[in-house]
Symmetry: C2
Subunit: 343 residues, 2 copies
């Protein structure tokens, strides 16, 4: 994500992700009211995994803490409200400085930043009571290795994403996602106390829906076309496009269920689509959609192609989003809310 | 502290503070070997308060963890080594991004950054087993208010520090330090488990020694003279010098004992001077001393006077350090190691 507070920052261009958090709000309130087992705890620890730089993470955390307090007041009126610890996690290149400067001054919790991949252990054994992760688990831990291997059937040349590619490419993405989710669940199984909850929101597709029909996927495909256009103009090397792939994957309920059942440490308490979120194209101008995709991909692109192509690339991309308006409008935008409970 | 990895950064100009950590190393090993009560803990949490940007904090933490592991292996050979959590704390303007990028990749602990003042609560109740703070507790939470009040007897005009000032100024500094230490101990008393240890290293002066004889104090006084010289040259406004003061204080064993006894939650297990640290002037060139003082004061000065005066100011300061060589060589540089145990 693009750090800081600038016009192109994630902070200023994450209203769609904020919409998702708002849509999940009542589900999280309900989850805590119905599924959390309040014990006479002195302390209660929450982790937001993939928190980025804010302010969305602060809204999400506030909602969780208020729901927990309400639960205590309602069900355990004689017990003291516990002290709260909140761990804000993202990878170590995240702009934690901006996150820390923007922490709500009147917060009623102890705040802590945890750098590192949530696909491995991040916290002490049995130390978390509630884990939250919104719009983060679609980011893979890495681009599947086969996809950049010229000798592999899954080599993804001329594209930066798996839709409209060979079947092997999509399969490599799907397997990477399954492996990442397995690692995620194994790590959380150690960290979350028995009875603890894990609330996840991810962009997803309905079971059986082809990847190409999903708006989330279309965006990365259009970004790929824009990069190829720059390559044809001679502004970037074609080989660099071949070796670049977006490490993201749009899962479906079936795939998630399979990996959760195989892990065996969590029960699925709820899996529901968040129907209230409107796809970005239907209410936003192409420019806004472009800024929002730029805020989440700029760092990746800069690393591979350099900063100088960014403005032209996203100018092209904005045009393509405008031209693809009809396709996008008939595409699918599903956001999945998932509530897990540690056995 | 100056963030990043540049030539003027704290990272590159904190060899003196590293020397202090090295000098305290064996004391910390001894403290853990003799005073830590190993219980059959599954997890062990350490906090480094005022960690800055590294790498010094990583050396200090490594020494603590190795000592704890050794203690477990020696005294509880049948118990499992606990999992370790390390909280790196500094104020919220600290460069945590640099700190996180430099975390040792092969570390055997879960790392977390905690932004905020250690003069207030930062951690959950009863959550810490070992607290470390090296060369940080001489920084006050704020400049004593009276010192910038024109109507107060403690108004410190024409200077930026309390030595060679009216007695009331030094008294205001001393009271601020006592108040800060009281808050520090109250907060830690809540956070540290019974039997938990707090290891502190601070620059100090022997009981009864005048502040003006302490090298640590001389440095800030020379910096004040340099600022006044810039003011006389018309490069900065005299009023801005009058309203600027360095929020630091050099304590003594007597003052520390008084505040610890008054708090009543900790026993003093050890208080010892670290004689092995050589005063910066005796082995460093004035340029190096100047860079080291610049790394710890640049941010404060930039905020008050702007960045444009920095180079000229520290050029003047370097000269003054060179001229004051004899005074500095006969000055006192005491670093105090203090080990507290939570009752």
């Amino acid at each position: 994500m693009t750090g800081g507070n600038g016009l192109k920052s994630y902070t200023k261009n994450s209203s769609y992700q904020r919409g998702v958090i708002d849509a999940a709000k009542s589900h999280i309130q309900g989850a805590i009211a119905k599924k959390l087992q309040p014990e006479n705890l002195e302390t209660f620890s929450v982790a937001d995994l993939g928190c980025s730089v804010g302010p969305n993470t602060f809204f999400a955390v506030q909602n969780i803490l208020e729901s927990v307090k309400l639960k205590y007041k309602t069900h355990e009126p004689n017990s003291k409200i516990p002290e709260f610890q909140v761990f804000f996690n993202d990878h170590s290149m995240n702009d934690f400085n901006t996150l820390f400067k923007c922490l709500p001054p009147n917060r009623e919790y102890y705040a802590s930043g945890v750098p590192g991949s949530f696909y491995s252990r991040l916290f002490l054994r049995g130390s978390l009571h509630f884990v939250h992760s919104s719009y983060s688990l679609h980011w893979l831990s890495q681009v599947p290795k086969e996809v950049t291997n010229r000798k592999s059937l899954a080599w993804n040349n001329g594209r930066i994403y798996h839709i409209h590619a060979r079947e092997e490419v999509t399969k490599a993405y799907s397997m990477q996602h399954a492996m990442d989710m397995t690692n995620f669940l194994s790590a959380r199984a150690e960290e979350v106390v028995p009875g603890g909850l894990v609330a996840i929101v991810v962009p997803a597709r309905p079971n059986g829906t082809p990847h190409a029909q999903v708006i989330f996927n279309m965006m990365f495909d259009l970004l790929g076309s824009s990069l190829m256009e720059l390559s044809k103009k001679g502004l970037i090397d074609e080989e660099r496009v071949d070796s670049f792939n977006i490490p993201a994957y749009c899962t479906c309920p079936q795939e998630l269920e399979a990996v959760i059942q195989k892990n065996g440490c969590f029960s699925i308490e709820r899996m529901k689509s968040l129907s209230t979120v409107i796809a970005p194209d239907t209410r936003h101008r192409p420019q806004d959609v472009s800024l929002s995709i730029r805020a989440i991909t700029e760092e990746l692109i800069r690393e591979q192609f350099g900063a100088e192509i960014l403005d032209e690339l996203f100018h092209l991309f904005t045009n393509k989003v405008g031209e693809a308006h009809q396709d996008i409008a008939s595409g699918i935008a599903l956001n999945l809310f998932l509530l897990l409970k540690r056995n």
